[in-house]
């Protein structure tokens, strides 16, 4: 509460650190899943596996962006969270509408149902956190 205010909004402390931890867990999960799928059976479902890889990259970059906490990091995190939200909603809808396009699961299939819907909640929390921290710094008296 009483910590000195810095010019830069801190996205990597307090709840932000919890967010980074969860992002890290998903980065690990998505990376290993994508690596395994692409290495062992890429031709079975290329679209699904490339999306897994994309999701993995987005989670890693989002975690780094949040952890760097500067203006650039904030912008990177904002882009990643937005892309994630679009991805999880888009892929979720597509995987229900056209299951034939997704013969194998991705992190984002069924709105992330295979992962307790956390992939759906995570970008929303990320965006809320980014919004919250930027508001707090702008509104704070110096």
């Amino acid at each position: 509460m009483a910590e000195p205010r810095t010019a830069r909004p801190r996205t990597n402390a307090g709840p932000g650190r919890l967010l980074i931890a969860v992002y890290l867990l998903f980065a690990i999960a998505a990376t290993s899943r994508a690596a395994l799928q692409i290495a062992t059976r890429f031709d079975e479902a290329p679209l699904a596996y490339l999306l897994s890889a994309l999701a993995a990259v987005v989670y890693i970059v989002a975690a780094v962006g949040l952890a760097r906490a500067g203006h650039a990091g904030r912008r990177v995190a904002l882009a990643c969270c937005t892309l994630e939200l679009v991805g999880v909603v888009g892929v979720g809808a597509f995987s229900l509408a056209r299951p034939d396009l997704f013969p194998d699961e991705t992190v984002w299939s069924g709105f992330g149902s295979g992962y307790g819907y956390i992939p759906l909640v995570l970008p929303i929390l990320g965006l809320a956190w980014l919004w919250h921290t930027s508001r707090r710094t702008q509104g704070a008296p110096s």
């Binding site: 307090g14 650190r17 919890l18 931890a21 969860v22 867990l25 999960a29 290495a39 062992t40």
Partner: protein
Amino acid sequence: MTAAATTTGSPADGALAVAAIVLSLLVAVWALVAALRHRPPDRMQFIGLAVLELLLLGLALVTAVALAGGERPGEPGSFFGYLVTLVCLPPLAAVLARMEPTRWGSAIVCAVCLVTPVVVVRLQQTWEVLGG
């Protein structure tokens, strides 16, 4: 010795795994209470994570012995991926909790300790695909 244990059961499926799951959930509840009471991670959480890590390393050791004895997991790639991830989880929680000596540190411990049992179960599933 139930029906599942009569065929050579999965090495990831014994008392060690059950103990790890139970301990992990206990630490998660403890850390959740700490987070709700605005407490930073306490000694109990770090001890819990350390014991959990020992259990998981024990699980890895049992698996290594089974592998040396000629047993093979059903999905080797996934299995070893989960195993490596699993033994990294408690140290990850401990490092992040040390960096964040606030209630959110406790929340991190809680989150990681909720994920750990899931990974243990997935580990068991990836061993058993062929055996079933």
